[in-house]
Symmetry: C2
Subunit: 103 residues, 2 copies
DNA sequence: CATACTATCTATAATCG
DNA sequence: TCGATTATAGATAGTAT
């Protein structure tokens, strides 16, 4: 979209498509967060990546996951089994919620 | 975010916030569509505007609604009562689906 | 109010390591 | 394949209309 005109069509090349996907997902989530903060609205973004089992979900997987991780990191003296209940479990739960009852 | 440094905080001024909201929602939807097309993934964006009864939902309210409208426009010889089953009804249906079972 | 304008800032495709 | 770089197209806050 920069040194060559954008065509807005499916990117056939696998590696190019993956790189573009990662860059754009990152910024799409960022934009969603900005809109939410700036305008005080509830916004939700869900992206089902091709090869990923867990879709990217905002706000859950981004903001809330970070919060969870920070929480557990700050409690490094916590019972290891409790700390094991972590990002993976949380993310799966988020996805189920997102699929089951919207955002 | 341009002539003044961005602060990424809630915009207090009502009119400014509304204008910013409209601009950003438009582009957020555009970005979502681009990601979906470029990378061949399913992406979904839902924004619950403050004063609007119907949230902005993509792909439903954007792509599919246009499809529906185009469909009815192309059938201008259709029974008027059938054409009356139009954008409004469809959008409500989309929102219900989005809220009820995800994207 | 809503649009249009425009000076800047941001996103990003291509490239290199 | 991923991260860093860079040049350019795109997004946007403030302002004008």
């Amino acid at each position: 979209m920069v040194r060559k005109k954008a065509k807005l069509a499916y990117i056939e090349n696998d590696s190019s498509r993956r790189v573009t996907y990662q860059k754009r997902v990152k910024n799409l989530v960022k934009k969603t967060r900005e809109l939410s903060v700036l305008c005080g609205v509830d916004a939700c973004a869900i992206i089902y990546g091709q090869d990923e089992q867990v879709p990217v979900v905002w706000p859950s997987s981004e903001e809330e996951a970070k919060r969870i991780i920070s929480y557990y990191n700050s409690k490094s003296d916590l019972d290891p089994s409790q700390r094991g209940f972590n990002q993976y479990t949380f993310l799966n739960d988020s996805v189920i919620k997102a699929k089951g009852k919207g955002c």
